[in-house]
Subunit: 245 residues, 2 copies
């Protein structure tokens, strides 16, 4: 197993950081590594905002559901899916931007995620810790206003980066056999794999919480997908021009 594989496998979210700074040079390198990821037809439909302003950081921490590390991390990036730049370029050549395509929305969202994951890997290779902040989607309009995002841009998630001040365990993942199929969707055996994983996660939660948390993956999924999630997203996206035609 080479060093990069070891690094990838060792990932866990870090939410507690020391006060050591993350330098501009590090952020530049991290984002350049992000840019190096593949991008559909070279569209590069991503813009990253590094938020330094302390007042903005506090507000973003609130928007994300009072996640203090959003304010305290050495660096905080907001990763935005961005079709605005391609629109500018298109119109600059006398074209008419075809707004609202579902495909373009998928493309930009995927581009943002590919870039972000490379950022995480780059940061972790430098010894930094990272944590995605999907919580920004709790209040995406407020985030967009705070960062002056134009239409055709939406904040997909944030990224906390910093020197770790904790060393949590790596969370177990689903069995490979449940996630990797051969020629067809691995439908057979899903129930058994989920049951086995439920027990693995029960033990993980118990240990991580010192006995306080008694749950399983299935129970967490019941909570997560058994109810509405961020029902404002559709309307928010439509207002930004992502009408999903």
């Amino acid at each position: 197993m080479n060093e990069t594989l070891r690094l990838l496998r060792a990932h866990r979210s870090i939410r507690k950081f020391t006060s050591e700074t993350v330098t501009d040079a590090q952020v530049s390198e991290i984002v350049r590594c992000g840019q190096a990821a593949a991008t559909s037809s070279n569209i590069q439909a991503v813009t990253v905002i590094r938020v330094r302003d302390a007042a903005k950081r506090e507000r973003l921490a609130e928007f994300a559901g009072n996640q203090a590390h959003v304010a305290s991390a050495g660096a905080f990036l907001v990763i935005c899916a961005d079709l605005n730049r391609a629109r500018l370029a298109c119109e600059g050549q006398g074209g008419t931007f075809c707004e609202g395509m579902t495909e373009h929305f998928i493309l930009a969202t995927v581009d943002a995620a590919l870039l972000a994951q490379n950022c995480v890997v780059a940061a972790e290779s430098m010894g930094l810790g990272a944590c995605y902040i999907g919580g920004l989607r709790n209040n995406p309009q407020a985030v967009s206003d705070l960062l002056a995002l134009p239409r055709q841009v939406y904040p997909v998630f944030g990224l906390c980066l910093g020197h770790p001040d904790q060393n949590p365990a790596v969370k177990p993942r689903l069995p490979l056999a449940a996630v990797l199929g051969e020629d067809v969707y691995p439908g057979a055996g899903q129930a058994e794999a989920i049951a086995a994983y439920d027990e693995e996660m029960r033990a993980y939660y118990r240990e991580r919480s010192g006995g306080a948390k008694d749950s399983t993956w299935s129970l967490e999924m019941k909570a997560l997908v058994g109810r509405e999630a961020r029902p404002h997203m559709r309307g928010f996206l439509a207002d930004r021009g992502f009408t999903m035609m």
Copy 2:
């Protein structure tokens, strides 16, 4: 610059492979590294299908727009956004799956992209080459039928993996200043950055094509976003249960 940073920066798509095999052990490791990426609330809303069957590989190559490397690469993975497994788990606990949320669609699409990007980094660290195949979204229903994907699952893209039989140059990316803003969206200077990048890409295209291709990034964007793109996606996704409420 550490080895991982060098690796990330060196990425370019590989579409020509030798006949050397990609082993099962390599694919397992690659997908485990994929699984190690962050996943929203541990939902792990991704399923990967490794397609070995030669006839299926040929059909997928056609579906993707006659991309021969889909059939010829040492390994071909179809990366699927998957809410079906979470649904199973939820219903197994007596819950009712809340179908069609836009947020869940975003979440699963992002999870798939994060996993895939880790797969690419892992593969490249092994000396393999990789290429994303967004072209599967040209015919997503046909792909879904071929792989027996249930509802609440959609193929985001494919991934060709193999031993490289070419050594293309790394494609230049947008200037960092256009992509990375400080506290606000970097609106000022976008036009200049695009203009500078246009000239850089003109030179890149000319060199790569031996003088045959005269284009710029803006002209490519006019072609890409100045017209409809995969207008079938909305209807396809709705049929799969991704109604985007």
